[in-house]
Amino acid sequence: MLSVFKTLWLVFLHLFRKRITVQYPEQRPYMPPRFRARIILSRDPDGGERCVACYLCSAVCPVSCIALQAAEDETGRRYPEFFRINFSRCIFCGFCEEACPTYAIQLTPDFEMSEYDRQKLVYEKEDLLISGCGKYPGYNYWRVAGVKIGGKDTGQAENEEPPVDLRGLMP
């Protein structure tokens, strides 16, 4: 019997506790930098698209919400002709970010992407591309990769030795 009154009193005292509720639109919650929400496509430090259209994100996506088409420009750089993410399907698992070999696709802490129209949840490449490097500043895939493109021959990448002349090894 006494415990009942004690319970009532203790619960009553909660009236004067601090509220747990975050009054959302006025009061913003803290979003950790690694929070997984809206997906973006980042760019090189010199402004080129990072995405090389390798299809790895599309392949790893458990709900198949990423669609893209690879293309190649006149310099030999691969890029996606279109890149489409259907956010009405996306489960924000972050597998695409893990799979990406060029740090192009990244998840950001921006979660406010509700729409009244379902069709508006399909983001095209121009909606996804941002102007900066995202979480990896200074990284440039084409500068460190050994792939030959226009303006950069084999052996000219960072930390890459010039190719060895095999015949020069002969005695």
Partner: protein, 314 residues
Amino acid sequence: MREICIIVVLLVGVLTLAAALIWVERRLLAMWQDRWGPNRLGPLGLLQIVADMLKIFTKEDWIPDFADKPVFVVAPAIIVVAALLALGVVAFGPGLVVADLNIGLLFVLAMTAMGVYSIALAGWASNSKYPLLGGMRSAAQLLSYEVFMGLSVMGVVLMAGSFNLTRIVEAQRHMWFCVPQAAGLLLFFIAGIAETHRLPFDLPEAENELVAGYHSEYSGLKFAMFLLGEYVAIVVICSLTVTLFFGGWLGPVLPPLAWFVLKTLLLICLFILMRGSLPRLRYDQLMSFGWKVMLPLALLNVVATGGVLLLVRG
């Protein structure tokens, strides 16, 4: 003319209060759980009441094919009618009463007993498992708690010498009955919680065992009637507790009606606090508590009060 005015004011007041109680309950429960509750719509979230009403009015009012239709429709009306009739004899102030019956207290007890029909019939007419279980439980629970509810107020009746609620209030001029009848107050309040089937005695509903108990099959306005009936019943029990034990409208400075409303609202808050803190009893615990603890205590209270009164008054 005067009666009609009181009736209209009472009906509008009580029905508004019952609707507002939904908001009050949500806000208070939230406050006791370190949350804010509905505070967005209008000042303090008060317009939430209007939104809730609109929502429940526009819900589909559906009667299942397997239900016993006439009974299914009548059941929710009974609880509201019974609860509102009980309010008819409660005196809110000197002369502020619809029908000043000389057996007012008996009438209130009879009307709260009518409520059990509503729930038992609703459970029966729904013609499905969980409502039936809820209806049966409520029939058993309300019957056993009614027994000592009637007995627990007999001490008050003995001291006041009347069944008339106005006379009972007048008899508390010098001392509220909550002091000499503390045991009676406790017994009556516990029986009152069981009568309104609120936590910790909400076995007829028991949403985590019986879906929603007796009103599982109800929707729309008929469901709203059950909700309304429950809140009006709370108002009835609280105003009755105030009348019988806390001196009704008696109090200094403020006008009588204000005192009555204030005391009633405080008790309603206590009802909500209990919902926020106490766990539901098991069915056998409920029954043995009612019959083995409360009933003997109520009988003992009647005997002791009668004995003391005989000694004092000769």
